[in-house]
């Protein structure tokens, strides 16, 4: 299957994520931690199709339906949402935002492909092209959508300030970047690795 996807640079993906988050439809639901399931189901009116063992069988929590009218979701994970199991909530939030990335960025391309199975869709989404895969673009969209830059910078500055007050030479300490990411991540309801990726891609604090 042809895995080509239209070229979108980071700036284009970020712009799409920011515009989507700031759209009038999402007003009142754009403050982190963002309730992506509410946005998908109630605002976008997408169908949710709970599937038992989706994660066990495919190693994914969610997948856009081939006709982009809804989202398959691992049933156990879905029912655990908002139950206080933080790692489940973090993972599902990102997974759902990733599918919204496909929905926003790739709807026309998906419609043109007429996928019949989740497997076909995954094969297409992961296939590399010259400019990166649909999976890469959806990940970048998800990160930017869930972690708005201005709020990230504010949280980052605050966390750095707190550490500077306690230990002036903290930046030289091994693992300081990860430590800050872990401090900041709960504000956005995502795993700290998502924050580290934002630090990196948005050149806030790049990995060495």
């Amino acid at each position: 299957m042809n895995g080509s996807v239209k070229y979108r640079d980071k700036a284009a993906i970020w712009r799409a994520a920011d515009e989507f988050r700031e759209s009038s439809d999402l007003r009142g639901h754009d403050i982190p931690p963002i309730d992506v399931i509410y946005i998908a189901e109630v605002i976008l009116k997408l169908d949710v199709v709970p599937l038992p063992d989706l994660f066990a069988d495919q190693r994914i929590d969610a997948a856009l339906l081939p006709d982009a009218t809804g989202v398959y979701i691992d049933e156990d994970t879905y029912m655990s949402w908002e139950k206080g199991i933080r790692w489940v909530e973090q993972r599902l939030r990102f997974s759902f935002a990733h599918e919204l990335g496909h929905y926003v960025l790739h709807q026309e391309e998906i419609a043109a492909k007429c996928f019949r199975t989740i497997g076909e869709f995954r094969q297409w989404a992961a296939a590399p092209s010259i400019y990166g895969s649909a999976e890469y673009q959806a990940n970048e969209f998800a990160g930017r959508f869930l972690v708005p830059r201005e709020i990230l910078l504010s949280e980052y500055d605050q966390a750095c300030q707190n550490l500077s007050n306690a230990e002036p030479g903290w930046r030289a300490i091994e693992g300081a970047r990860e430590f800050i990411a872990k401090k900041v991540a709960p504000r956005f309801g995502v795993n700290y690795q998502v924050i580290e990726t934002r630090f990196d891609h948005e050149t806030i604090w790049t990995a060495e």
Partner: protein, 130 residues
């Protein structure tokens, strides 16, 4: 709009996600999703459909309530109870269906035909005939 689409619309009107709605009312989300997508038919007993209608925010006796019950019947491949209870209307239905089959009616023509059938059974119409 199909029965499933109506169920989904009513749930979204309540601003409840599938998960929240199912937790609120003790439904299985997988089965409820199938109802909304028209894969599973509505229940065959009226009591359950009435309970669903209440859960979806409809009030008994309203036009919306009756439409919901009618949509459930149609989705099950049945005639709505209100039609089944009207013997005069039932007798006319074969002619009505034959008209629809033979004529390939437009939406507008179909509405017109339905209206004529309704008028033929309204109290005012009956009075005039007497």
């Amino acid at each position: 709009m199909s029965f499933g689409e109506r169920v989904k619309e009513l749930r979204i009107t309540q601003k409840r996600t599938l998960r929240q709605f199912c937790l609120d009312h003790g439904h299985d989300p997988s089965n409820w999703s199938k109802i909304e997508r028209g894969i599973n038919p509505p229940p065959y007993d009226d009591k359950t459909v009435e309970r669903w209608a209440r859960q979806l925010g409809l009030k008994a006796g309203t036009e919306d309530w009756q439409d919901f019950m009618d949509q459930a019947a149609v989705a099950r491949g049945e005639l709505p109870k209100a039609v089944l209870g009207d013997e005069e209307l039932l007798r006319k239905l074969p002619v009505f269906f034959r008209s629809i089959r033979g004529a390939e009616l437009t939406e507008e023509q179909l509405d017109d035909l339905i209206q004529k059938v309704r008028e033929a059974h309204s109290p005012g119409e009956r009075k005039r005939k007497v």
